[in-house]
C-alpha cells in the first residue's frame, strides 16, 4: 500500500512535471545521441567503406615490378603463406584528347577476381577494342556510351607495344573500387595528372609481362578495412612478399639479361661482318691511291721537261732581247751624235745663208761697176781673146792629144809591169811545194792564169788605143799649119811650145788690159772668193750633210736590222708563248687528273671513314648496350598495400580518424552540458519538494523510499532519453556524416550504420551516473535536514553588495533594474554558472566548428601563398647528368609564362631528436640569391623572418614540435647514403603541409663534404599567367629526363575537395550547438522565471508594463548571454587548440588563427538562439498572474 501510494505519487509527479521530465529526457537524449552518434560515425565509415571494398573484391596488396611481372611471379606469390589469391593484370597510362585538352587516361585490364568494375550505364567490355569509362571522367569529358576514344602514347614507346588497338568504343560507364573519390593519381606522362580510367578487356593488351599483380590476403576480408586487424594482416603479407622479392627479381633480371645478350650477340656479328667489308674497301683504296700517284708523277716529269726547254728558249729570247736592247742603245747614242751633227749643220747652213746674203749685196754693187767698165775692157779683150782663142784652142787640142797619148802609154806600161810581176810571182809560188804553200799562195796560184789572161787582153786594147791617138795627132798638126806659116810644127809638143810663145806676146798686151780689168776683177774676185769661200763652206757643209745622211742611212740600216731581229724575236716569243700555253694546258690537265684522283680517293676515304664511324658507333652502341646490360640492376618490386597503392583510399581512413578526433571532443562537451542541465533540473526538483520530503519524513518514511522517487524519476528520464538518443543518434549522426563524406566518396554505394553497443552503453552509463549522482546528492542534502526545518520555507537568500557597488560612479548611474539584475546574477550563482556554461558551451562549439573550418581551409592558402610560394615543382629522373639538369632548368626558364626558377635538392631523411624520429624532407636550394621568391621562412608566432644565409638550418614548426626541439637544439640526420650527421636548429619556421628541413648549400657541403646534387626545379608563374601552368608542365614532361611535375594548385584543389565535406560536419555541429543552447537557455529561463514568479508578479503590480517586466528578466539573460559568449570564445579557443592537435594528421599542421568572422558568426548564432529563447519566454512572462504576489512564500 505504502509502496503503491509512493508509486502513484511518482507517476503523478511525472505527469505533473511533464515539462521537466521531458526536458531531462530530451537533453539526455540529445547528449547521448550526439555522443554515441558522432563516435559511431568513425566505425560506421570504416564499415561502409569495407563493405564496398569487400563487395567489389578490392585487392589487398598490389605488387608492381620495375621490369614487369611474369606468370612465375604470380605463382610464387600465390605460394607465399598468408596469400589467398594472386592475379596478374595489365595497366598503363595513355593520352587522349578531349575537346582541346590532352588528358591522361589510366587504361586497366578487367580482372577476374579483383577490383570489380560497377557498371552504371551500358555494359562491361567483352572483347578487344571495347572499354568501360570512368563515370566522373565521362561526365567531365562528355563521352557517352557508343562514343569512341582514341588513345596515343605519352612517351617514346609506341602504343602498339602495349595495346592491340588505340581506338576503344565506350560500351559502358561505371566505377572502380580503386577510385573511391575524385583523385585519379599522378602519371609520368602528359600533364602528370591522371584524369580518369578506362577498363578494357585483357585481350586489348599485348604486353609480354604483367604490369602488376593483385593479391588477396587470407582472412583479410573478415577484418574491417582501416582497422589494426586488417593492417596487421596485410602488413604481415607485405613483409612475406618482400621476402621473396629478391629471388624473384633476380630471376626476372636473368631473363631480361639473357634476352638482351642474345640480341647483342646478333648485333655484334653484324658489326663484325661490316667491319670486314670495310677492311677490303680500305685495301682497294690504298692500291688505287698508289697507282694514281705513279701516273701523276710521270705526267709531272714530262711537263717539267717541257718547261725546262721552254725556259732555255725563254733565256735565249731574253739574251737576244738584251742584245737588241744594247744595239738599240748604241744606235740611240749614234743617232744622238748624228742629230747633234745635223744640228751643227743646220746652224752652219744658217750662217752660210747669212753670208750669202751679204755677198749677194756686194755682187750687185760690183755688177754695176762692171757693167760700166767692162765693155771697154771687153773690146780690148775681144781682140786679145780672138788671138788667144785661136791659140788656146790649138794649145788645148794639142795638149789633150799629148796627154791622152802619154796616159795611154803609161797605162800600157803599167799593165805590162803587172803582167810581168804576176808571172814572176806565179813562178815563185809554183816553185814552192804544194804542202808548204800558204792558203794565199794556193789561192793565188789558182787565180793567176785567169788574171794574166785578163791583163794581156788589156795590153792589146791599150796598144790599139795608142795607135788611134797618134793618128789623131797628125791630123791636128795638119789643121794647125793651115793658120799660117808661123804655125807649122812637127809634133804636137813642139806645137804646144811654139804656140805658147805666141801666146806670151798676147799676154803681155793683155796684161795691161788686164790690169784695169784686174782692178775690176779683183773686186769681182773678192766677191768670187767670198762666193768660193761660201761655196767651200757650203761644200763642207754639204759634205758633212753627206756624212750625216750616210750615218743616218747606216743607222737606219741598223734599225732595219734590229727591227728584223726584233720581229724574229717576236716570232720566237710567240713560239714560246705557244709552248707555254701548251705546258699550261698540260699542267691543268695534270691538275685535273690529280684532283680527280684525289677526289676519288677522298670519296673512297670518306666512305670508309663513314663506314668506320658507323662501325664505331655500332661498336659503341654495343658496348653501351653491354654496359647497360651489365648495369641492369635487379628489378625492384613495389609491394604496396591499399593505402600506398590507391589514391584516395587513405584519405577515407584519415577522414574516419578525423571523425574520431571530432567525436572525442565535441560530444564530450555536449554531454557535459546535458549532464549539468539534468543535474540542475533534478536539484531544483528536490529543492522544490522539500516540504513534501519533510512531510514524508515526518510521516515516517525512510530516506531510501523518499529518495527512491527522485532517483526513479531521474533514472526513467535519463534511461528513456539515453535509449532514444542511442536509437536515434547512432543511426542519424553517422548517416549524416557519411552522407556528407559521400560528396567526396560518391562511389561507396551503401551507408551502413550498425549500432555500436559499446558507445551506446558508454553514453547511457555516463548519463545515468551523472543524473543519479546529482539526484542522490540533492536528496541526501535535503534528507539530512530534520522535517521541521524542511517544512519551513528556506531562509531567503540575502541580498548582497557586490564589488561593482564600490565603484560609486558607475553604480550611481545604473538604474534599479540594472542594479537588481546585476545583483541577481551574483546572487543566483548556480544559475549564473549554468547559463554561462551552457551559452559558453554552445558558443565554444560553434567557435570550434567555424574555427576548425578556418584552420583547415586556411592551410592551402597559407602554405602556397605565403610559405611555399612556387607554383610547381619539376622532379628529375634519378641519375641524370648536371648538364641535363641545367637543360631542364633552361627549359623552365625559357617558358615565357614562367617568372623564375630555382634548382633544389629534396630528399627524405630520418631525423631523430632524443627518442623520437620522423621522416623529414630535406630541402637544399642550389643558390641563395632568389630563394625568397620561392620559399618564405618566417615565424608564425613572432614577427621574425629568416633566411638561409643567416640561419643555416631551418626546421618547420610541426616537425620541431613533434620532435620536441627548439632553436639551438641538436637533431640527428640519418640517410642511407650519407650516414649520420648532427645539426643544430637555427630557426623554426611556419609551415602547414609536410615536414621540411632547409639547409643552406654551403652548410650542406660542409656537412656532407660534397655539393648538394639538385633533383628538382621549383618554378613560379608570372602574375596573371598561372592558368598556363598545366601547359607548361605538359611541355616539361615531354623532356625524357623529367620524372614528374607537381602543381601546388592541384594539391590546393585536392585539399579543398577533401575539406568540402567538413562543411556539412560543421553544419551538424552548429545545429547541434544551437539545439544545445536552446535547451539550456529554455531550461534555465524556465527555472528562473518559476523561482521568481512572485517577484515578477510584484513588479507587475507595481505597474511595470509587460515589456518592462520582460526587460527586467532579459537584462539578466542578455548579460548572461554576453558573459557566456565571452567565456565561450575563450573556451572555444582552448577547445579548438585541443581539437586541432587531436584532429591533425601527422604531416599536416592546421592553422592556429581563428578568423574574427568565426567569432562573430558564433556570437551572432548564440545571440540568435538566446533571443529566440527570450522570445518564447516573453509569453511565459506575460502569463504570470499578478495574484501570485498575494500568495505566501512557499
Amino acid at each position: 500500500m505504502k509502496k503503491n501510494m509512493l508509486r502513484k505519487d511518482f507517476f503523478m509527479e511525472i505527469r505533473k512535471s511533464w515539462g521537466r521530465f521531458i526536458s531531462i529526457f530530451l537533453i539526455v537524449a540529445l547528449g547521448v545521441a550526439f555522443y554515441a552518434g558522432i563516435r559511431a560515425s568513425e566505425p560506421s565509415m570504416r564499415i561502409s567503406g569495407d563493405a564496398y571494398f569487400d563487395k567489389e573484391h578490392l585487392m589487398d596488396i598490389k605488387v608492381m615490378g620495375t621490369m614487369g611481372l611474369t606468370e612465375e611471379d604470380v605463382e610464387a606469390i600465390e605460394d607465399v603463406d598468408g596469400i589467398e589469391l594472386a592475379e596478374g593484370t595489365y595497366s598503363m597510362d595513355a593520352l587522349c584528347n578531349t575537346g582541346d585538352t590532352e588528358q591522361v587516361v589510366h587504361v586497366m585490364a578487367m580482372q577476374e577476381h579483383f577490383n570489380d568494375v560497377q557498371v552504371s550505364e551500358g555494359r562491361l567490355p567483352e572483347k578487344e577494342g571495347e572499354c568501360l569509362m570512368d563515370e566522373e571522367f565521362a561526365l567531365a569529358s562528355g563521352y557517352g556510351v557508343g562514343d569512341t576514344i582514341t588513345l596515343s602514347s605519352g612517351d617514346e614507346d609506341p602504343l602498339e607495344d602495349s595495346l592491340t588497338t588505340d581506338v576503344f568504343e565506350v560500351v559502358g560507364i561505371g566505377n572502380s573500387p580503386l577510385y573511391i573519390s575524385f583523385g585519379r593519381g599522378s602519371s609520368t606522362i602528359g600533364n602528370g595528372e591522371v584524369s580518369g580510367f578506362i577498363a578494357v578487356d585483357p585481350d586489348s593488351f599485348c604486353m609480354d609481362v604483367y604490369s602488376e599483380i593483385c593479391v588477396r590476403v587470407t582472412d583479410a576480408e573478415q577484418e574491417i578495412a582501416y582497422t589494426d586487424g586488417y593492417t596487421s594482416l596485410t602488413d604481415a603479407a607485405v613483409d612475406a612478399l618482400e621476402k621473396i622479392e629478391d629471388e624473384r627479381c633476380q630471376a626476372r633480371r636473368q631473363e631480361i639479361v639473357d634476352e638482351a645478350e642474345g640480341e647483342l650477340a646478333d648485333a655484334q656479328a653484324t658489326v663484325d661482318e661490316e667491319s670486314q667489308t670495310l677492311a677490303d674497301a680500305r685495301s682497294e683504296l690504298e692500291e688505287g691511291r698508289s697507282q694514281a700517284a705513279r701516273e701523276l708523277a710521270d705526267a709531272r716529269q714530262a711537263l717539267e721537261d717541257a718547261q725546262a726547254q721552254l725556259d732555255a728558249a725563254r733565256q735565249q729570247i731574253a739574251d737576244g732581247e738584251a742584245q737588241l736592247a744594247a744595239g738599240k742603245e748604241e744606235l740611240s747614242t749614234q743617232q744622238a751624235a748624228l742629230d747633234s751633227g745635223r744640228e751643227q749643220y743646220e746652224s752652219g747652213m744658217a750662217q752660210l745663208e747669212q753670208q750669202q746674203a751679204q755677198l749677194d749685196a756686194s755682187e750687185v754693187q760690183y755688177l754695176a761697176q762692171y757693167a760700166q767698165q767692162m765693155p771697154l775692157i771687153e773690146q780690148g779683150k775681144q781682140e786679145i781673146a780672138a788671138g788667144k782663142e785661136l791659140l788656146t784652142t790649138s794649145i788645148s787640142e794639142m795638149e789633150t792629144l799629148a796627154d791622152h797619148l802619154s796616159s795611154l802609154r803609161e797605162e800600157l806600161a803599167e799593165i805590162n809591169n803587172a803582167l810581168t810581176e804576176g808571172n814572176k810571182k806565179y813562178e815563185e809560188y809554183s816553185a814552192i811545194s804544194d804542202s808548204e804553200r800558204t792558203e794565199e799562195q794556193k789561192q793565188f796560184l789558182e787565180d793567176w792564169p785567169e788574171e794574166a789572161k785578163k791583163l794581156q787582153a788589156q795590153e792589146t786594147e791599150k796598144t790599139q788605143s795608142i795607135t788611134y791617138a797618134e793618128a789623131a795627132e797628125q791630123e791636128a798638126l795638119a789643121a794647125l799649119a793651115e793658120q799660117g806659116e808661123d804655125f807649122s810644127y812637127e809634133s804636137a809638143e813642139e806645137a804646144v811650145a811654139g804656140l805658147q810663145g805666141k801666146m806670151q806676146e798676147l799676154l803681155a798686151r793683155e796684161q795691161t788690159l788686164l790690169a784695169g780689168e784686174q782692178e775690176l776683177l779683183a773686186y769681182g774676185q773678192q766677191i768670187e772668193d767670198g762666193k768660193a769661200q761660201l761655196a767651200a763652206a757650203r761644200q763642207t757643209l754639204e759634205d758633212s750633210k753627206q756624212q750625216i745622211d750616210a750615218g743616218q742611212a747606216q743607222i737606219d740600216a741598223a734599225w732595219a736590222l734590229i727591227n728584223s731581229q726584233e720581229s724574229q724575236l717576236a716570232s720566237g716569243k710567240a713560239d714560246l708563248a705557244a709552248g707555254e700555253q701548251e705546258i699550261a694546258a698540260g699542267w691543268s690537265e695534270y691538275e685535273q687528273g690529280a684532283a680527280q684522283a684525289a677526289q676519288e680517293i677522298a670519296d673512297g676515304e670518306a666512305q670508309i671513314a663513314d663506314g668506320e664511324r658507323q662501325l664505331e658507333e655500332a661498336q659503341n652502341d654495343i658496348a653501351e648496350a653491354q654496359a647497360e646490360i651489365d648495369k641492369i640492376e635487379n628489378p625492384q618490386w613495389y609491394v604496396q598495400d591499399r593505402s600506398s597503392a590507391l589514391t584516395e583510399y587513405d584519405g577515407y581512413g584519415d577522414n574516419a580518424d578525423r571523425m574520431r578526433a571530432i567525436g572525442q571532443v565535441f560530444p564530450a562537451v555536449f554531454f557535459l552540458v546535458a549532464a549539468l542541465i539534468s543535474l540542475t533540473a533534478m536539484t531544483r526538483m528536490v529543492e522544490e519538494q522539500r516540504i513534501q520530503i519533510g512531510t514524508l519524513k515526518a510521516l515516517g518514511y525512510n530516506k531510501l523510499s523518499i529518495a527512491g522517487k527522485y532517483i526513479a524519476y531521474a533514472l526513467t528520464a535519463t534511461l528513456g532519453g539515453s535509449v532514444l538518443g542511442v536509437l536515434f543518434g547512432e543511426k542519424v549522426f553517422p548517416w549524416i556524416i557519411i552522407y556528407a563524406y559521400k560528396i567526396m566518396y560518391q562511389h561507396i554505394p551503401d551507408i551502413l550504420v550498425p549500432y555500436h553497443l559499446s558507445y551506446a552503453v558508454q553514453a547511457t552509463l555516463i548519463a545515468v551516473l551523472c543524473t543519479l549522482a546529482a539526484t542522490i546528492f540533492s536528496c541526501y542534502r535535503e534528507l539530512a535536514s530534520v522535517p521541521a526545518q524542511l517544512m519551513r520555507p528556506p531562509a531567503p537568500k540575502q541580498g548582497q553588495r557586490i564589488l561593482l557597488e564600490r565603484v560609486k560612479i558607475i553604480w550611481k548611474h545604473l538604474n534599479f533594474s540594472w542594479k537588481s539584475s546585476i545583483r541577481n546574477l551574483v546572487r543566483y550563482k548556480k544559475r549564473f554558472f549554468m547559463t554561462v556554461f551552457g551559452i559558453g558551451g554552445c558558443m565554444a562549439l560553434m567557435v570550434v566548428g567555424f574555427g576548425l573550418k578556418d584552420c583547415i581551409f586556411v592551410i592551402p592558402e597559407l602554405q602556397y601563398n605565403s610559405i611555399q610560394t612556387y607554383d610547381a615543382a619539376v622532379y628529375f629522373d634519378a641519375g641524370i647528368s648536371r648538364e641535363d639538369k641545367e637543360e631542364i632548368a633552361a627549359l623552365v626558364r625559357d617558358e615565357s609564362a614562367v617568372s623564375g626558377e630555382l634548382m633544389v635538392r629534396m630528399q627524405n631523411l630520418e631525423v631523430t631528436a632524443g627518442d623520437t624520429s620522423m621522416e623529414i624532407y630535406l630541402t637544399v636550394p642550389e643558390n641563395l640569391e632568389n630563394v625568397g621568391d620561392f620559399l618564405d621562412f618566417h615565424s608564425r608566432t613572432k614577427p621574425e623572418t629568416y633566411s638561409l644565409e643567416k640561419e643555416q638550418v631551418i626546421l618547420t614548426e610541426k616537425a620541431a614540435s613533434d620532435l620536441g626541439v627548439e632553436v639551438g637544439d641538436t637533431v640527428t640526420l640519418e640517410d642511407d647514403g650519407m650516414g649520420v650527421k648532427e645539426v643544430t636548429i637555427d630557426a623554426i619556421c611556419e609551415n602547414y603541409m609536410g615536414h621540411y628541413l632547409y639547409l643552406s648549400p654551403d652548410y650542406y657541403r660542409e656537412l656532407f663534404g660534397k655539393e648538394a646534387a639538385s633533383n628538382g626545379v621549383l618554378f613560379k608563374m608570372k602574375e596573371g599567367q598561372t592558368d598556363q601552368i598545366e601547359a607548361v608542365g605538359g611541355r616539361l614532361l615531354g623532356d625524357s629526363n623529367v620524372l614528374n611535375v607537381s602543381y601546388t594548385s592541384s594539391i590546393e584543389d585536392r585539399l579543398d575537395d577533401m575539406l568540402q565535406s567538413l562543411n556539412l560536419v560543421i553544419v551538424v555541429l552548429i545545429i547541434s550547438a544551437g539545439m544545445l543552447a536552446f535547451i539550456v537557455l529554455y531550461n534555465l529561463n524556465t527555472i528562473n522565471i518559476t523561482e521568481r514568479k512572485r517577484e515578477l508578479a510584484t513588479i507587475k503590480v507595481l505597474g511595470f508594463y509587460d515589456t518592462e517586466v520582460a526587460a527586467y528578466v532579459y537584462r539578466e539573460n542578455v548579460l548572461l548571454t554576453l558573459i557566456g559568449a565571452v567565456a565561450g570564445m575563450a573556451l572555444g579557443w582552448v577547445l579548438l587548440q585541443f581539437v586541432i592537435v587531436t584532429v591533425e594528421v601527422d604531416d599536416v599542421m592546421f592553422g592556429r588563427v581563428l578568423d574574427l568572422t568565426s567569432y562573430l558568426y558564433s556570437f551572432l548564432f548564440t545571440l540568435g538562439f538566446s533571443m529566440f529563447v527570450n522570445w518564447v519566454m516573453y509569453f511565459k512572462l506575460k502569463k504570470i498572474d499578478m495574484v501570485e504576489s498575494l500568495k505566501s512564500v512557499e
Partner: protein, 234 residues
C-alpha cells in the same frame, strides 16, 4: 466629487466548467477622498476580488468601478498597467520587496516608473526607517520590511493606497505600529487608504467600514469617530 472611489454592482464570475462561481456578486460601495476605509470579511467572501479589481490586477465581469472620476472597468491591459503605475500604491501581506535591492532602492525602484514621485529618503524618514536605508530586506525585521513596502507605495504618490492584510504576517505590536503608520499617513497626507483584512477588530480605527460577505457588501458604515490604533486590542 465626494465619492472618490465608487463601486457599482461589481460582479466577478469565474467559469469553472459547467458552473459559474461568483467571487463578487454585485458589490456596491463608495469611499470618499482622504478616508481610511477598511474592507472586512471572512475568507472567501470576495474581499481579495475587490482588492484585485480595485488594484487593477483583475477586471470585473460587470459593473462599474469609478476611481477619481474614471471608470477603470473600461481599461484594458496597458491602461490598467498605467493605472496601477500612477494611481495605486500597494502594500502586500508578505511585503514583496525585491530581495537584492536595499530598502532605499526598493523604494526608488517604484519611483523610477512613476510620474510625480516623492523623495524616497523623505518617505523613508516618514515611515521611520531613516537609519536603515541601505539594508537589504533580509536584514530587516518583518515590520521594517512592511514599512519599506509602505514607503514604496507612498513614494509613488498614489491616489489610492491599497493594503492587503498588511499586518497578517506581523506580530501584534508590530502590526499595530504598521496600522498606526497607515492611519497617520492617511490623516497627515490626506491619502485615501483602503485596508483589506479579515480582522474586524481593526474596524473601529477606520472612517468607513465595508463588510463583505458572500460576494456582496453586506454593510457599509461610516465611523464619525475613528479611534486611534493604540486603543485597539485584538
Amino acid at each position: 466629487m465626494s465619492e472618490f472611489v465608487s463601486l457599482r454592482d461589481v460582479k466577478k464570475i469565474y467559469h469553472m466548467g459547467e458552473i459559474d462561481i461568483a467571487a463578487a456578486n454585485g458589490i456596491t460601495f463608495d469611499i470618499r477622498k482622504g478616508e481610511f476605509a477598511v474592507v472586512v470579511g471572512p475568507s472567501g467572501a470576495g474581499k481579495t476580488t475587490v482588492l484585485n479589481i480595485l488594484g487593477g490586477m483583475d477586471t470585473a465581469t460587470s459593473g462599474e468601478v469609478w476611481i477619481d472620476g474614471q471608470d477603470i472597468t473600461k481599461y484594458k491591459g496597458k491602461e490598467l498597467t498605467a493605472y496601477r503605475r500612477d494611481d495605486i500604491g500597494f502594500v502586500f501581506q508578505f511585503y514583496n520587496l525585491i530581495p537584492n535591492l536595499t530598502a532605499l532602492e526598493n523604494v526608488e525602484l517604484a519611483l523610477q516608473i512613476c510620474r510625480d514621485p516623492l523623495d524616497a529618503r523623505e518617505v523613508m524618514e516618514h515611515v521611520g526607517l531613516g537609519e536603515r536605508l541601505d539594508n537589504f530586506p533580509a536584514q530587516l525585521s518583518g515590520g521594517e520590511q512592511q514599512r519599506v513596502a509602505i514607503a514604496r507605495a507612498l513614494a509613488k504618490n498614489p491616489k489610492l493606497l491599497l493594503c492587503d492584510e498588511p499586518t497578517g504576517a506581523l506580530d501584534y505590536n508590530t502590526g499595530k505600529a504598521i496600522l498606526k503608520l497607515l492611519q497617520d499617513t492617511c490623516r497627515q497626507r490626506g491619502m485615501t487608504v483602503i485596508l483589506i483584512t479579515h480582522n474586524s477588530a481593526i474596524a473601529p480605527m477606520a472612517d468607513r467600514i465595508i463588510r463583505i460577505k458572500n460576494g456582496r457588501a453586506e454593510s457599509i458604515e461610516t465611523n464619525p469617530h475613528p479611534v486611534p490604533v493604540e486603543t485597539i486590542e485584538w
